[in-house]
């Protein structure tokens, strides 16, 4: 039966070109990661060198995206900024994913008072609007981009704990878990061999969809001056630095702005594709097909009747 449903799913994925979509988006995402890793060798200019003659210079052959108000090359700064953005977002998502899953699995598997305590704790965090909390915490800690990462992470992990816990509760009473327990399985073996592989799907989907949102959150905090600080080249802080030249030199805002936009777009699309593959239950694309088909059938028939009469 498992084989059967898998074949059906594979067929569906082939029909939708989902795998092709995944391949293209993965390639694009890897391209961004490549820029993040090797950025310092790709920049046409030194991102921190101030060329005062070039202050607020418009895009040209020499400076493809123009210069900011200190005469620094914007293209080089955007490229350099990729590193901060991508690495901080990846660390953040990985961190909340691991922490949340750990808490959720423990709460779900142990049950009892431990479950109650951990879930009440996560309820408290879930009671805060995410960015309100993140702004305040980042404002208190104050330590560059990593303070922003901690602030967002602190408020975001309970979502993963919730998902992990509900997944564990769903599989906990399966026969194979009891069988593993009866054959003397250690708790850590139980965790990583029997529980984790079976609950990972929804968690990975959530994490993949979260990367884009987290990039935006971190850039937003940097924009408010609560993340990466000038002169560090980071997209959010670059935009906040250039706010005063919005009218005279809009490219100083547009360059980092579109960098955030394109990056988030690619990671969002990638997350969506991963969801389509891993989470067939969430597949809503075919839902409603019946309605459309029958509607067409009915209208066809009506038309036929009309032409006949």
């Amino acid at each position: 039966m498992r084989d059967g449903s898998l074949t059906v799913q594979n067929k569906r994925l082939k029909q939708d070109h989902t795998m092709l979509r995944l391949a293209i988006l993965l390639l694009l995402a890897l391209g961004i990661v490549f820029v993040a890793v090797f950025g310092q060798w790709l920049t046409p200019h030194d991102p921190y060198e101030q060329e005062l003659k070039q202050t607020l210079a418009a895009p040209s052959g020499e400076h493809l995206l123009g210069c900011d108000r200190f005469g620094r090359d914007l293209l080089s700064r955007v490229i350099t900024g990729t590193q901060t953005t991508i690495f901080s977002a990846f660390v953040l998502v990985a961190g909340i994913c691991v922490l949340g899953t750990l808490v959720g699995v423990i709460a779900g598997y142990a049950g009892g008072w431990l479950d109650t305590v951990l879930m009440r704790l996560s309820d408290i965090f879930l009671a805060f609007p995410e960015m309100v909390f993140a702004i305040s915490v980042a404002g208190i800690i104050r330590g560059g981009i990593w303070a922003a990462v901690i602030a967002v992470g602190l408020i975001a992990w309970p979502r993963y704990a919730r998902i992990a816990r509900s997944q564990v509760l769903a599989i906990k009473n399966n026969a194979y878990i009891s069988a593993a327990k009866l054959s003397g399985c250690r708790w850590y073996q139980m965790g990583y061999r029997h529980i984790l592989p079976n609950i990972l799907g929804p968690i990975v989907v959530t994490a993949a969809l979260d990367i884009g949102a987290m990039i935006m959150n971190l850039a937003g905090l940097s924009f408010l001056g609560l993340g990466a600080k000038p002169p560090i080249a980071e997209w959010g802080s670059m935009m906040s630095e250039s706010r005063s030249s919005l009218q005279t030199a809009p490219w100083t805002i547009l360059a980092p702005g579109f960098a955030v936009f394109i990056t988030v777009l690619i990671f969002n699309l990638l997350g969506d594709t991963i969801r389509d593959i891993l989470d067939p239950k969430q597949q809503r694309r075919r839902i409603g097909d019946g309605f459309v088909k029958i509607q067409k059938l009915v209208s066809d028939k009506q038309q036929k009747r009309r032409t006949e009469s």
């Binding site: 309820d123 995410e130 924009f223 959010g236 955030v260 988030v264 777009l265 839902i287 409603g288």
Partner: protein, 313 residues
């Protein structure tokens, strides 16, 4: 029955409120070393270890944490939420003065969001996998990937600076609310259109829709009389639940447009390390958020006959 459920939900809220205040207090406490130094500078005292100890004693900072917390909680209940060094006044009236602006902005962007995304979401669902659907989904993807502050700056650039139709910042009556409203509404509509689409599609796929079609009821009648009526509850609930992201999102947008709400108040306060304002901001935003969620949940229970009847039957 609904009353018993309401009482139960309100009682569940009490530990959450304790948690919110405790967490906020702990956070501010971690910044209290700063506060002592800042107070001493304000009063022109020399910062020596002895003076610091005196000051800490005066502020009650040498007592056990839990004791301090309860003393502070008692003060909150009497309306004393601390003093702003920056504005030289109690923070509570300061916050309450700024709150209406934020609520107005939240409300107006909700209205715009509903006006944009409900029709588009329904249209996209009915025309599923046709060109209209693809265009709507394309734009909702774009809107989802645009950070609020970038949208704000783009709108400023186009409508205020290039076209000169709207004022750049500040509060000049009706027109100045337009840009912040649309900034918030664009991001929210993008997300919400997809949710409306998914909800309507799910409803369209139910058996009764096919049954009606088979009996010859017109597609439009089914859509308006049954499908929309049935999916409205979910649509409204999803909207209420997205208020949380809106309350957080206003902070950045407010500070860009210098909208005099609680968000820009808090951002200014962070810049000046005025922790009392931040504290009042965090606590009240959480309380408002929790309150909205509670009301949504109760309305949902009240309106959905399936859930309402459960207890009675």
């Amino acid at each position: 029955m609904i009353w018993r459920y309401a009482v139960k939900r309100v009682l569940q809220l009490i530990p959450i409120l304790f948690g919110i205040t405790l967490l906020s207090y702990a956070l501010m406490q971690s910044a209290s070393a700063d506060t002592v130094d800042m107070m001493m500078q304000k009063r022109g005292m020399l910062i020596t270890p002895e003076n610091q100890a005196v000051m800490r004693h005066e502020m009650g900072l040498d007592q056990p944490f839990i004791l301090q917390y309860f003393q502070w909680l008692g003060k909150i209940f009497t309306g004393d939420m601390g003093y702003s060094y920056l504005k030289n006044m109690d923070v509570f009236p300061l916050f309450m003065k700024a709150l209406p602006s934020t609520l107005l902005l939240t409300l107006s962007s909700m209205v715009v969001t509903v006006c944009i995304s409900v029709p588009l979401g329904i249209l996209s669902a009915v025309r599923q996998n046709k060109i209209t659907d693809y265009v709507i989904r394309f734009f909702s993807f774009i809107g989802n990937a645009l950070p609020g502050f970038f949208v704000a700056l783009l709108l400023l650039l186009v409508f205020a600076l290039w076209l000169g139709w709207l004022p750049v910042t500040g509060n000049h009556g009706f027109v100045s609310i337009l840009l912040p409203t649309f900034t918030l509404a664009i991001a929210m509509s993008a997300k919400y259109t997809r949710q409306v689409r998914a909800t309507v599609l799910e409803e369209l796929n139910k058996d009764y829709v096919m049954g009606c079609l088979a009996r010859g009821v017109k597609g439009r009648t089914i859509l308006l009389a049954n499908v929309l009526k049935n999916s409205m509850l979910t649509i409204v609930t999803l909207l209420a639940l997205s208020i949380g992201s809106l309350l957080g999102g206003t902070a950045i947008v407010e500070s860009i447009f210098m909208w005099p709400g609680v968000g820009s108040l808090a951002v200014d306060a962070i810049g000046n390390r005025d922790y009392a304002i931040i504290q009042v901001y965090v606590i009240w935003m959480a309380v408002i958020y929790v309150g909205i969620n509670l009301i949504t949940d109760l309305i949902y229970h009240f309106l959905d006959p399936r859930i309402r009847m459960q207890g009675e039957g």
